[in-house]
Symmetry: C2
Subunit: 227 residues, 2 copies
């Protein structure tokens, strides 16, 4: 399948590498291709500069958001929360409409120090903001509750005996996203929380997730819903 991944940081690199390894065509979208390739570090600093990473993943194409969106049949949004709506604007509704947008972003606000707070929460969410701004895009919020390496390899932890969630208004889009999560990435059980307003719950889980990271001393954990 022709896929697009928005974002060149750790999450974008991880998703793009997995998609390429599965044999899909992958275009990674960025604001400014030349600037991304010239950048010495990555946006989140704890993974390789994109140019170094791309040398190890020569099949992955780097493109503008608009080019990547135009070529992708499905789009993974792995931009940071503050950059998500600008990235989608640059991609253009015409290149996105009718397609599934797997939204992995978190609306983290680092401006007030650590740990980050959220730029939107409680009565709204970034997932809903995206859906309102792009009503003809089939937004599915998922994967934002786990660290990048677990997103595409959940079986590395307790043989996958833990959970991931989907939120969205389009039942067929959620079913396709669920199939991708299971068949491509290896998730054993995907919990459908409901419509896109349920993105509030998974985004508001981040403050607990950040503290659990402090407790476990590793981001390589996840929740299992015991019932």
């Amino acid at each position: 399948m022709n896929t697009a991944v928005f974002g060149t940081g750790m999450v974008g690199q991880t998703i793009a590498a997995k998609l390429a390894a599965l044999g899909h065509r992958v275009a990674v979208g960025t604001r400014d291709v030349a600037a991304t390739l010239a950048r010495a570090g990555s946006p989140d600093a704890w993974n390789p500069a994109f140019a170094d990473w791309q040398r190890q993943h020569p099949d992955v194409k780097l493109a503008t958001y608009a080019e990547a969106a135009a070529s992708g049949e499905i789009i993974f949004n792995a931009t940071n929360g503050a950059g998500t709506l600008p990235a989608l604007e640059m991609a253009g509704a015409g290149n996105l409409n009718g397609k599934i947008l797997i939204d992995i972003s978190n609306p983290l606000d680092f401006s007030k120090g650590m740990p980050p707070s959220l730029t939107v929460c409680n009565t709204d969410s970034l997932g809903e903001q995206i859906q309102r701004a792009f009503p003809d895009v089939r937004v599915v919020k998922t994967l934002n509750t786990v660290t990048a390496s677990l997103m595409v390899n959940p079986r590395q932890l307790a043989d996958g005996d833990h959970h991931i969630f989907v939120s969205g208004n389009d039942a067929a889009a959620k079913a396709q996203a669920t199939a991708i999560l299971k068949d491509w990435f290896g998730w054993r059980e995907v919990i459908d929380l409901g419509d896109i307003t349920t993105a509030r719950g998974v985004e508001m889980y981040l403050p607990l997730w950040l503290r659990l990271w402090g407790f476990t001393q590793s981001p390589n954990f996840n929740v299992k819903i015991v019932r």
Copy 2:
């Protein structure tokens, strides 16, 4: 031990019954004793009127918040979020200072319809509001992430193979609360998230919890941190 439980609803009844069954002296605090006993239903409507419940638990005393706080060596706050600070004001700092307050409340706002939003979140929490208003009370936030029956009987679900959290500024108070959770209530592992600001995380988990309730069709679930 002499214990106090603030709140006459499902959570207050459940905690009070457990404490009494363990042989502790229990005073349940309420705003107006006569009004509580005269009330036909309970505040949350899905459990017995307090007067009916008390006939089955004759050892549990009903008292004003101030009387209950004065008699209790430890206080469990099971009021609803909107009623928490007013209840503590009525109890009086003089009756609370130096004591451990196990805060189980959630700052749920039902005024905007279902599901509820939160009255405070993101950069503050009800746990912090309580600690700021009563700086000499030893606030420990816990148990707000599970349904009442699980709070005091976690082994009923997967033999207790799931987690509960504590947040608070006072390490000794958290240690005592953790001992209560384990030795009195049966929790197998209690995760210390950090200081009282980590109450934001467990309170902001509620929107996800409410949607998980919708998914599981029962409130009798909890999270296990898989690591």
